[in-house]
């Protein structure tokens, strides 16, 4: 394959904007939530929608509770005169992938990518149970937290993690988020105190689970001249790949995420040092699984934003990881970073991007 996960054109993230992430943004609908974020992503590089060659977004009707919910959100873009545009019913990280492909194919030189989610109107763990095999799993209404508990138990029983290590991950994530003004959970009780809390879904305690968040994110992609014009130090996408595992949870080893490891390998994670990594792990044990899958060592600052454990706007939390790594590269705080996004239950589907400052 000619281009593969590296692509034949140099494409960079040149602008990132996000909303604050909150338990419930009751005063704004999806359009009102994402419009200022899109506007900021464009304005801070002096661009308008007329400068953008392709627009792609990610969202799901199951959060909005309405068919075709993304149609209304097009109003946040200013699609007049008409624009070249697409939408994925996936996390925005995959919208970014579609935009990256579109640029690699030569159909555009610039792209706006955004995603958003308001989980607050529904009962999220039960809503997510609708994303399961409709014949054998859905009728049982297994919640996302209940399923994750089965996975965590398998990891503990296999010696891959302990409840204390899980609490340490929760503590580290939420104390790191103290420096992230957009995060939802920005402090943590001490590890011993966390371990004294009751189980939510054995062996998961509340701190092991991502919060339920409303929020959104927008990024701008550019190649060539536009990248140079819009950013002093673009965050170049040196590798990007995504893979999916099987859905039959009874038929695969739940303690590993082969699709994450494969995507990481194809994106080139291990080819050089990793200064910073942002992992989309909605549960503490999944954080450990991803660190192991990518072979991240002590030299890597993992989830300095606090990650999904500090703010988890569904459909946006994956694209946020790309945005967070890009932000650190554009600021010069890091030279090489890894961003990861996941979709589905139990890390079934995974996307990995390697971003570099040069």
């Amino acid at each position: 394959m000619a281009g593969g996960s590296a692509g034949s054109r140099d494409v960079a993230i040149v602008s990132v904007a996000q909303s604050t992430h909150e338990r419930a943004k009751v005063a704004t609908n999806e359009v009102e939530l994402i419009q200022p974020v899109i506007q900021q992503a464009l304005e801070q590089i002096g661009a308008t929608i007329a400068d953008i060659g392709f627009v792609c977004s990610g969202s799901t009707d199951y959060l909005a509770g309405q068919a075709f919910s993304f149609v209304m959100t097009l109003d946040a873009v200013g699609a007049w005169p008409p624009i070249a545009e697409s939408h994925v019913e996936m996390d925005g990280a995959w919208a970014l992938y579609e935009a990256w492909v579109k640029i690699q194919a030569g159909h555009a030189d610039t792209a706006l990518v955004f995603s958003y989610g308001k989980s607050s109107p529904g009962d999220l763990p039960n809503v997510l149970s609708r994303q399961l095999d409709p014949y054998y799993y859905q009728p049982l209404w297994p919640s996302s937290v209940g399923l994750a508990g089965i996975q965590a138990r398998a990891m503990i029983d296999g010696g891959a993690i302990t409840e204390r290590r899980m609490a340490e991950i929760a503590y580290a994530s939420r104390t790191a988020a103290a420096n992230n003004p957009f995060a939802q959970l920005r402090s943590s009780a001490a590890v011993d105190d966390l371990l004294a809390e009751p189980y939510l879904s054995d062996p998961l305690r509340r701190h092991d689970c991502a919060p339920i968040s409303d929020g959104g994110v927008a990024v701008v992609l550019a190649t060539g001249d536009a990248a140079a014009r819009w950013a002093d130090r673009p965050a170049w996408i040196r590798g990007i790949d995504h893979r999916v595992d099987g859905h039959n949870f009874g038929a695969r080893d739940l303690t590993v995420a082969p699709s994450a490891a494969l995507a990481g390998q194809r994106a080139g994670v291990g080819d050089d040092k990793v200064d910073v990594a942002e992992l989309h792990a909605p549960f503490t044990h999944q954080h450990q699984m991803l660190v192991d899958a990518f072979g991240l060592g002590d030299g890597t600052d993992v989830n300095p934003s606090g990650g999904a454990l500090a703010a988890n706007p569904m459909m946006a939390a994956g694209l946020l990881r790309l945005g967070e790594v890009a932000g650190r590269i554009m600021s010069g705080a890091a030279d090489r970073g890894v961003a990861h996004a996941t979709s589905g239950h139990l890390l079934q589907q995974n996307l990995v991007a390697v971003l570099e400052g040069a």
Partner: protein, 390 residues
């Protein structure tokens, strides 16, 4: 910069019906997938990436169902992307799959579009409740009827143009074994006498609600030629693709002939080197869910001057024996699994230039246009495919 050349080398669709109660969702999709793979002389192991599309997840009551489908469609260990751009999604999905090949990130892409509408009542899923929108209409027909009436007013078209379109498409469907509606007894009078749903759209001038799926294999130049050598059927070379969107509501927006549709056509013609659509395009598959959209899209796509599209219909130009056959498959008026309907247009266009359309084949078709639209006539997708390699 131009991407790498891509061609369609495998096309498979299901038998479409109001209720495909004999198969699961995965079973329905696999019926199309294996037909497409067989057509391409490939197996799932040959596929590098899967791009899948459908309309709203609420139609089946399954959130992001592709994660459940990953095993059944052979996507495990591969990239799997899910597209959703309203009614145009089938077309958009095929275009995203094409972009993967053009970009060089995959050599053989399996693309799928599907809908199992019998799981729900699509009409009410298409009627947005308060607080999302003012409660004005019931179903898509209720939404589009005023724009059809405005088209009739502007163009002065005779009132029976819609009847002619419906009769033509349903008769064409008799030549398509996969079509949902097979109505051998249909006549001009039976269409005219069918009851009025949304003035001026009669029951026989509206699309059915179908279960169905279509899959295609899109390959890079070398893989396409190898596949063609094995199957004996030439690739449908993809000469241009385009997507355009505009808001549902914008000051000055013309919903009868939307600017996004005109821009989309201009863009795809530029890529395909088409300066005279009527002269250079041999056959068209366009998204006509309500009969009057045939003359409306004929104008929007540049096949007729504004206000004159209905004359092509009236003169029989769009019939199978006319010089611009439209919807030889029977079109959306005969088969409408919403998420798949756009890709059915794209796939039927490709079948025509490959010479594999069977009884509804137009002899000598070399260049074909596939078009899909969605939302409030605001999302457009087109491609031009050709028997001739550029």
């Amino acid at each position: 910069m131009a991407g790498q050349l891509a061609g369609v080398v495998g096309i498979g669709q299901t038998r479409h019906a109001a209720i495909r109660g004999d198969v699961s969702v995965a079973g329905l999709i696999r019926e199309a997938v294996f037909r497409a793979l067989d057509d391409a002389h490939m197996t799932m192991a040959d596929i590098d990436a899967v791009v899948i599309g459908k309309a709203p997840d609420f139609f089946e009551g399954m959130m992001m169902p592709e994660t459940y489908l990953a095993d059944a469609i052979g996507a495990v260990g591969k990239p799997l992307l899910r597209v959703h751009t309203a009614g145009s999604v089938g077309g958009s999905t095929a275009i995203v799959a094409t972009s993967h090949v053009e970009a060089g990130v995959a050599e053989r892409v399996l693309t799928i579009a599907w809908e199992q509408q019998s799981c729900s009542e699509a009409m009410w899923a298409l009627s947005f409740p308060i607080p999302f929108q003012q409660q004005l209409v019931a179903g898509a027909g209720g939404y589009f009827a005023p724009f059809i009436r405005e088209y009739m007013r502007r163009s002065g078209a005779p009132e029976d143009i819609g009847i002619l379109v419906a009769l033509k498409d349903r008769l064409n469907a008799l030549k398509n074994p996969y079509a949902h509606l097979h109505e051998p007894d249909i006549t001009y009078d039976s269409v005219k006498e069918s009851f009025m749903l949304w003035e001026p759209i009669r029951y026989s001038e509206t699309c059915p609600s179908s279960d169905g799926a279509i899959a295609m294999v899109i390959a890079g130049e070398q893989a396409a030629e190898a596949s063609a050598a094995a199957s004996g059927n030439r690739p449908a070379w993809i000469r241009g693709t385009s997507m355009r969107s505009e808001p549902a509501m914008a000051n000055g927006r013309d919903q009868v002939s939307p600017q996004a549709g005109k821009d989309c056509a201009a863009d795809v013609y530029r890529q395909a080197g088409i300066t005279d659509p009527r002269g250079q395009i041999d056959v068209v598959e366009m998204y006509v869910p309500f009969s009057w959209y045939e003359p409306m899209w004929l104008e929007n796509l540049g096949f007729a001057p504004e206000g004159e599209g209905w004359r092509l219909t009236e003169q029989g130009v769009t019939q199978m024996d006319g010089d611009l056959p439209v919807n030889c498959s029977g079109g959306v008026l005969s088969t409408n699994p919403i998420g798949a309907s756009g890709m059915l247009r794209f796939g039927e266009a490709a079948m025509q230039v490959r010479g594999t359309a069977g009884d509804h084949q137009i002899d000598g078709a070399r260049t074909a246009l596939g078009q899909a639209y969605g939302g409030a006539a605001q999302f457009f997708a087109t491609w031009v495919v050709s028997a001739d390699k550029p």
